[in-house]
Symmetry: C2
């Protein structure tokens, strides 16, 4: 194995021995986990973390730190060991609690659980895509804030990744774009160990990966002996010297190096080594200490608190000089990295909403969305827009949009046809700080990006996903492009706020709320087709932020039924209300732009909008079952539970029976 792959085993020593011991002991104690990657990447980690990574364990949020991403997140014990050894607030007891409930050391690195975890990884390919986003953010912010003699944004993004990440399609999307944009401060180490869960990868993964990355425009350093610190050091030096291309350092390694009988095989990938092999490994690598005991001299060798404090102090001095020279820029940098909105933000939103109310335009909500961007973006230079090759359809460009290029920064990314990569890159930019990313595609293709949306929700990222063409109203492109179940299923992602606004006002409120939301992402679903403006009182206007509200009360104030609607169907509900009133049936119309927000309101408010005992009819151009949570078993739902068809939009609404007439009939049946 070693010989045929021309890979040389490590010269074992106590420095790397600490990583190997912690990894195998913690996995053994947890009775599950992945020792293979930590043991196989110990030398690479040693060179990077002891000699190159710019970080301060005492301040994991230092703005100009290097970012480190373990894209092969199953090797989490490598990262936990590094954080512990270098002096982060992650104790040996935390490591003993690996994979236990409420520990800082879950099975995969989880953002927010331990200091120094820059992103949650595990779903393969997304870590390296997040890293592309972090490097993109660095480029954009450097372009914005650096001034001659003042390079206050100047850090690298380092990634570890394995065969799994490279097989995933998202690695193609993100790395291709990284090459196009020339993200020279992105440096990835490929742990080329020839093993994935099913065994030796020769049967299913025979890419010439270096050639593939050269095709993307990366600098590729081939055939690095991944257990030879001198070779790794030379590669890193070459990577650092190239600032116009991202670099892939291809490291030949032996998975589980240090486990004498299992190394190089897939048994070592994702299971504890067992007591016997661990004992043999201790002997083999010359590690004589009991589990979770690290000699002081080894701690000393790893400890980065002093160098980290020095590095940050040096930057602080430089930032002080920057502040003197450019006080406004410095304040703005701190505001943006702190994630606070401009002081006059709320007043500006109110002004914009008033103007929208005055205009009372009947336009598509995707156009209303563009108008909202146009109104808000000048106040928010942190907005980093983009679309997956649908800028003109999603309407995500605005008058001040400037495309990020290889040569310069900007505030808009032409992501190409790369939905999943786009979302994960934007997650990385959000994680980096200093930017609020918004991205866009057709609602249908939220499915291509779906797991990245979930990751944004899991990590509580401020991140805005714009999805246009939100129903059969898309028309002629047909069933492959017409969302039916997408809005409902996006609402089921925990911590995701989904909005489906009905007009210009709700569209702007949705945007404002998404921008303000600091503890999770928002999904904004917009129509292709024109939707009429709905007039509102001041009270109704402010109630939009509650997710659902009475848009139009029944004449006389005592509704015989309640119609719930979202987006393009609110107009149908309003028309039905009118028709019914003419027949003496008085109904309330509830607009429900965000069920997620409505569900978070207190019971009294919810009951005030949806009073008990009054029949309910919901209408939305999507799957009907979702609405049972509001209308119960007895209520009626007008929607669509089958695939769409290719035809002009107006014909489709009629064909599928999503009409004001259908709402009227449903109400009549309810009030019987």
């Amino acid at each position: 194995m070693s010989s045929e792959r021309n890979v040389t085993l490590p010269e074992f020593n106590p420095i790397t021995g600490a990583i190997r011991a912690l990894a195998m002991d913690a996995v053994q104690k947890a009775k599950s986990g992945h020792p293979g990657a930590p043991m196989g990447m110990a030398e690479i980690a040693e060179v990077l973390w002891r000699h190159h990574l710019k970080h301060n364990p005492a301040n994991p949020k230092w703005a100009d730190r290097d970012r480190f991403v373990l894209s092969n997140g199953h090797g989490s014990m490598l990262l936990y060991a590094l954080l512990h050894l270098t002096g982060y607030d992650l104790s040996i007891d935390d490591l003993k609690n690996f994979r236990q409930l409420h520990s800082k050391t879950p099975g995969h690195p989880e953002y927010g659980y331990a200091p120094g975890i820059e992103t949650t990884t595990g779903p393969l390919g997304q870590g390296v895509s997040n890293a592309v986003g972090m490097a993109l953010a660095e480029k954009v912010l450097a372009d914005t804030f650096n001034r001659p003699g003042h390079a206050i944004v100047d850090h690298r993004t380092w990634v570890f990744l394995g065969d799994g990440c490279l097989m995933e399609g998202i690695s193609h999307e993100a790395c291709s774009l990284a090459g196009t944009l020339g993200l020279g401060k992105l440096i990835a180490f490929y742990d080329d160990n020839n093993i994935s869960i099913d065994g030796h990868v020769d049967g299913w993964f025979t890419d010439d990966t270096p050639k593939r990355f050269e095709a993307y425009g990366w600098q590729v350093i081939r055939d690095v002996q991944g257990h030879d610190p001198v070779a790794i050091q030379a590669a890193v030096a070459q990577a650092r010297a190239n600032t116009t291309q991202p670099t892939l350092i291809c490291c030949k390694t032996v998975i589980g190096a240090g486990a004498p009988n299992k190394q190089g095989g897939h048994d070592v990938h994702g299971a504890p080594l067992g007591d016997a092999e661990i004992a043999a490994a201790r002997d083999y690598i010359g590690w004589t200490h009991p589990p979770f005991e690290i000699p002081q001299e080894v701690y000393q060798a790893w400890n980065a608190r002093e160098t980290g404090a020095t590095a940050e102090a040096e930057w602080n001095a430089r930032f002080a000089a920057y502040r003197s020279a450019h006080p406004e820029l410095a304040a703005e940098f701190e505001r943006r990295m702190g994630g606070t909105l401009p002081a006059d933000w709320s007043a500006h939103v109110d002004t914009v909403l008033a103007q929208i109310g005055d205009k009372a335009e009947t336009i598509a909500t995707r156009k209303a969305s563009q108008n909202a961007i146009e109104a808000f973006a000048p106040k928010l230079p942190e907005l980093l827009g983009g679309s997956a090759d649908l800028a003109g359809s999603n309407l995500t460009l605005w008058s001040g949009a400037k495309g990020v290029t290889r040569e310069a920064g900007g505030n808009y990314v032409y992501y190409g046809v790369r939905e999943f990569g786009m979302a994960a890159i934007a997650n990385g930019a959000s994680l980096h700080g200093g930017l609020i990313p918004y991205t866009a595609t057709f609602l249908m293709f939220s499915e291509y990006a779906r797991n990245a949306l979930r990751m944004a929700a899991l990590m509580k990222l401020r991140q805005i996903f714009v999805f246009t063409h939100d129903s059969i109203g898309l028309g002629e492109d047909g069933p492959t492009h017409q969302p039916v179940e997408q809005t409902a299923t996006l609402r089921y992602i925990p911590n995701m706020d989904v909005w489906r606004p009905c007009d210009t006002t709700e569209s702007a409120v949705a945007w404002a709320h998404a921008i303000e939301r600091a503890d999770g992402p928002s999904t904004l679903c917009f129509s292709r087709q024109n939707l009429p403006f709905q007039p509102r009182s001041a009270e109704q206007l402010s109630a939009i932020r509650r997710g659902g509200y009475v848009l139009s009360e029944a004449a006389g104030g005592t509704p015989q039924a309640v119609i719930l609607a979202t987006g393009s169907e609110v107009a149908l509900a309003m028309a039905a209300q009118k028709t019914l009133a003419e027949a003496g049936i008085h109904v309330r119309v509830v607009s429900m732009p965000s069920t997620n927000l409505f569900d978070r309101q207190d019971a009294a408010y919810r009951a005030s909008v949806l009073p008990a005992g009054i029949p309910r009819v919901a209408v939305e151009a999507g799957v009907t079952d979702f609405w049972r949570k509001y209308v119960g078993l007895e209520g009626a739902v007008i929607g669509i539970d089958r695939f769409g068809e290719s035809a002009p939009a107006g014909e489709l609404f009629k064909f599928f029976g999503i009409t004001a007439e259908a709402v009227v009939e449903a109400v009549r049946a309810q009030v019987g």
Copy 2:
């Protein structure tokens, strides 16, 4: 533009003129659509369809036809024009109805709408992935059925694709695997026109695509003048001559070639040309005929009915010889291509179920799934298994599994870490015929593949998606790997049958039903952890196929409440029933392995299982809102509406309150 890209415009002629005219006229009439690709690929299409494609317009289902996939599906008018011109049952009136309701010519090619459409395309990257699956199917079937002197399976798969497909990550997954498996009968034409919707691709897509595909092990033919029939012809000859590698023919083209003022720009990509430009184009390409009028000599030049009939007759003669030499193989080939199951299938299923009932094993349902495969697969050589690098976790291998390799066929594909590619490749294999694919990954990573699952449902494919580790019961790998909303959201895909079995018996029934289902895919969700066997009467056993049934009636037969449960939570429901009975509260337990199937039962059956007026409590380790459709506003749901955590599974069920005790308390609250 032309000069800098070194691309030569066509010598226009009436043969290719017919395609250009039909495309621009149909798009204009529909007032929407994509003329750019049909006009830009007219010469490539002419060479392929008039000189190479083996097909018989009179029999679009001929088993040994070449498969043609338009992966850039937005260029649908190209395919419709080709089908019409070569003699398929697609009239000029059908073309006039382009993008209209109930037409055979929707905005994107839809499988089943017009003869000769081999797959539905539009969602970019999936067409070429389907094509990989078709070529894979051809390889596997050739290996199975061909005998010396009898090459009855011997056809090619041809693909057109554009920049969009190549940017999508799935193209990486599928094409990488195609290279590894050496699918030499797969030939793709890359329409390298330098344009995507956002404009010239230089700003977002700078891959050296030929180099990338060489890295995958493809034969790449570079720099082919895509409007020069001689150059195209030479490239195809080279592609055909190489039977050990797939071939990518990189064709430099001018998008919209023939529209004198718009060609080569992105205005021609996805919008009608307009009357003025169409008039100019007619002049420019020398096409003097009114819209939708094709001269007889042009029809004659395109018509493939005679050559097609000859080709099929020749094959029929060869198949007759094959039948004489190998009658059983011939019969088996016809059975498999016809999609019928073996004659003794039902009896075999009954035998297997009886054995499972006798064994009464407490095992994980993923193990029960493997046992079902082991029991059914020997009868079904058409099963083509696989996993995305999780064979040992998904338990999708069986004793007769034989991996497909570069050198030979088999019945199991090691897909690597490529979930989306896997699903779309399997869709292609199902479309090809002769195979029933099953694929597998963790349930969480259904999200990576989600749109391919939807495409399988849209196309009504017989296709089985196995997803294991179906809840927080996955344990230590944590929230990134623990499904919460996935089962519910999969149930919302129209025409998808989702199963979440509770024991060995339900697992086997789910498998049997999925295998038998000829009009759509099935998703099978299995547990990581052990689940107890549930005894059943013969009536209960047969009721499993109704999706929901009374697993355990309340003592006395008059339930005070009904508990609905699926999968791992059925055991909790049973335990709760027992505890409640001891307290004098008598409840019915309904097992609901497939809500989709249950919803298709008649109202009387549904009411017999869920009688009106009796309180209901649902329990499932997933989002609770889904269950409101069964328990209404008043019922109770035990589930999880937040992300999971990393810990041993047993602890997680307690921590999240998904326990028999919680079910008992919920029932007590209901019966008050």
